[in-house]
């Protein structure tokens, strides 16, 4: 099983790194991270914060875009272009195909994030800044990308690339605003409303768990427990989403 999943993952990675869209996104990311230095000139006294803030935001933006735009095409594009026919006529289980596709993007995102982080540290180094908390912040962003990829694959198994893209981006936005649902639960009077808010709060992905940009930028400590919780959350939530994707794909008619 592992050999087949890794073969599909490596193939997906190979396809992704030869895709011009990835390079385009990466060039934009590098350009934006570089812009942080120019933007920092506009402020007095908080240059370091601007560079860190803008750099992390750029990594997040382009990481999310890569996750969504490559993630949504992973399964649905294979069906659309009928490349999946030859694969599934081989002795591979459908879940191995889904996991392989996910694995390929995990590797792609790792390389992508590593390149963006390396350039970010070059930009910081020019200013003589180094903060290990930034590595933790980027690692948690990477965890977030993986969860978004799992969600993108889930929707990719369910519908067309465009709809999958819209739904995944909607989940990304909701995932960062989930705290407002918690707030609403406290303020709402109706017990049914409270229960609904509670269910949605735990059902929807809480991407706030991966957000330590504020701590990293302002030099605040990042508790190891928060990192551990984020990793555990990714493992459990991500596994559940992927299991759902595999279950849907298992009975999908490949017309």
């Amino acid at each position: 099983m592992l050999a087949r999943v890794s073969a599909i993952a490596l193939n997906t990675f190979r396809e992704a790194i030869r895709n011009r869209i990835l390079y385009l996104l990466l060039i934009f990311a590098v350009a934006m991270i570089s812009c942080a230095q120019i933007l920092s000139l506009l402020t007095v006294g908080s240059e370091e914060k601007i560079i860190k803030d803008f750099g992390l935001a750029s990594i997040e933006l382009f990481g999310v875009l890569t996750s969504v735009f490559i993630g949504i095409g992973l399964v649905s594009r294979e069906i659309e272009r009928r490349t999946v026919y030859t694969l599934l006529a081989k002795p591979i289980h459908r879940f191995e195909f889904v996991l392989g596709k996910f694995g390929g993007l995990v590797i792609t995102l790792f390389v992508n994030t590593a390149v963006m982080m390396a350039w970010f540290f070059v930009v910081l180094q020019v200013k003589g800044i180094f903060d290990p908390r930034l590595v933790t912040a980027v690692a948690l962003l990477y965890f977030q990308f993986l969860l978004i990829t799992a969600i993108a694959i889930f929707f990719s198994c369910l519908s067309s690339p465009i709809l999958s893209g819209v739904m995944t981006l909607a989940f990304y936005v909701i995932g960062h605003l989930l705290w407002s649902l918690d707030l609403l639960r406290d303020r709402i009077a109706s017990p049914a409303g409270k229960a609904l808010c509670g269910v949605l709060y735990y059902l929807l992905p809480n991407l706030g768990n991966f957000d330590v940009k504020g701590e990293a930028v302002h030099g605040l400590p990042i508790p190891p427990a928060a990192v551990g919780f984020a990793a555990l959350y990714l493992l459990l939530y991500g596994s559940a989403v992927l299991a759902g994707a595999c279950a849907i794909f298992q009975r999908k008619e490949l017309q």
Partner: protein
């Protein structure tokens, strides 16, 4: 439909003359498949009660018009879609068992593969899925590229391949595991005459190695040339199955006579089919008419160029079956819907 033509084996292993008890390589038993439209929620049948058995070591041609359900049948056999009812078995096992696919090779219709992989990488990837070791993969990929005529093109990315080259590399991936059963969906489509001949040679070579080949096609001349047996699908139903000799009437049905130097168009019998400069092609329906025509020509000083007997072809039979299905009101609701063409393939 004469009973002579329908030699189907819907259930279980069957006893063939001189071969004892054998297990069908691919067996569909009373398989039906429908789809429901999104808007009207109407049910359209693509296949109805299809029963078919492909025997080991044979080349089986699966023919039919567009939208007859050939590709649907192949997808069902490979577990890419699921039947509404009926059972499908490969080598005696349920077709949805993943392990049974180790023994199968498949080429889809109009194959479209990963753009950014080279031919060699593409075949290597497919060989990996069968757990073939690195050294064996290298050897096998090289051999296959040679076999399909892409020996010096393996390092080019697939997006630079022509349609014919994609068809060839697709055929190579179908053979990467040296399969016992090769399923090819329209393997000749998109190929030039040389490519078609090469594919025919590969199919015949597979048979010579004891492999079974099941392929769908529109190109009936190829089918007549290489198939041991043929199945004819019309509007989701199997109308005929058997050897070419079983299916076609071999007696002469008409004669085509090519004549040079005939001055006028009046013939004692038959009709003129075409005239090009002083070469006339005439058609007569019986041997008596042929004799009369030859005697007529003898007295006119016209030169006889050739006399060709006309026999029933698969194309004649297919057209006849399609017409009789339409006359009998055999049309499935799906066949009247243009969307069905897309689905059934």
């Amino acid at each position: 439909m004469s009973a002579r033509r329908l030699r189907m084996h819907p259930r279980g292993p069957k006893r063939l003359p001189h071969r004892g008890l054998i297990m069908a390589v691919l067996e569909l038993s009373r398989v039906s498949k429908s789809y429901i439209t999104h808007l009207s929620l109407r049910k359209y049948w693509i296949l109805r009660d299809l029963s078919l058995a492909v025997e080991p070591g044979e080349i089986f041609g699966f023919i039919g018009t567009n939208g007859a359900g050939k590709t649907t049948t192949i997808k069902l056999a490979l577990g890419l879609i699921f039947p509404d009812s009926g059972s499908i078995r490969l080598f005696g096992e349920a077709a949805d068992r993943v392990e049974v696919r180790r023994r199968i090779g498949f080429l889809p219709e109009n194959p479209y593969f990963y753009d950014y992989l080279t031919g060699t990488e593409f075949l290597d990837f497919h060989a990996r899925l069968f757990g073939i070791g690195a050294a064996d993969r290298r050897r096998r990929v090289g051999e296959l590229l040679e076999r399909v005529g892409l020996g010096n093109r393996g390092d080019r990315q697939l997006r630079h391949y022509s349609k014919g080259m994609l068809q060839r590399v697709g055929l190579a991936q179908a053979l990467v595991n040296d399969p016992e059963l090769v399923i090819l969906d329209e393997p000749m489509s998109g190929l030039d005459p040389i490519g078609r001949r090469e594919v025919r040679d590969i199919i015949l070579d597979l048979k010579a190695r004891g492999r079974t080949v099941f392929f769908s096609t529109h190109i009936l001349s190829d089918t007549e040339m290489i198939c041991d047996r043929v199945g004819m699908l019309v509007r989701g139903s199997l109308k005929a199955v058997g050897t070419i000799d079983d299916l076609l009437t071999r007696e002469v049905r008409f004669w085509e006579v090519s004549i040079r130097g005939l001055r006028d168009d009046r013939l004692p019998c038959g009709q003129i089919v075409s005239r090009r400069e002083d070469l006339v092609l005439a058609r007569v329906e019986s041997q008596q008419e042929l004799k009369r025509l030859l005697a007529f020509l003898d007295g006119r000083g016209a030169a006889l160029v050739s006399v060709t007997p006309g026999r029933q072809s698969l194309e004649d039979l297919l057209i006849q079956e399609v017409r009789s299905a339409a006359d009998a009101g055999d049309a499935l609701p799906a066949a009247r819907d243009s969307g069905e063409e897309r689905h059934a393939g």
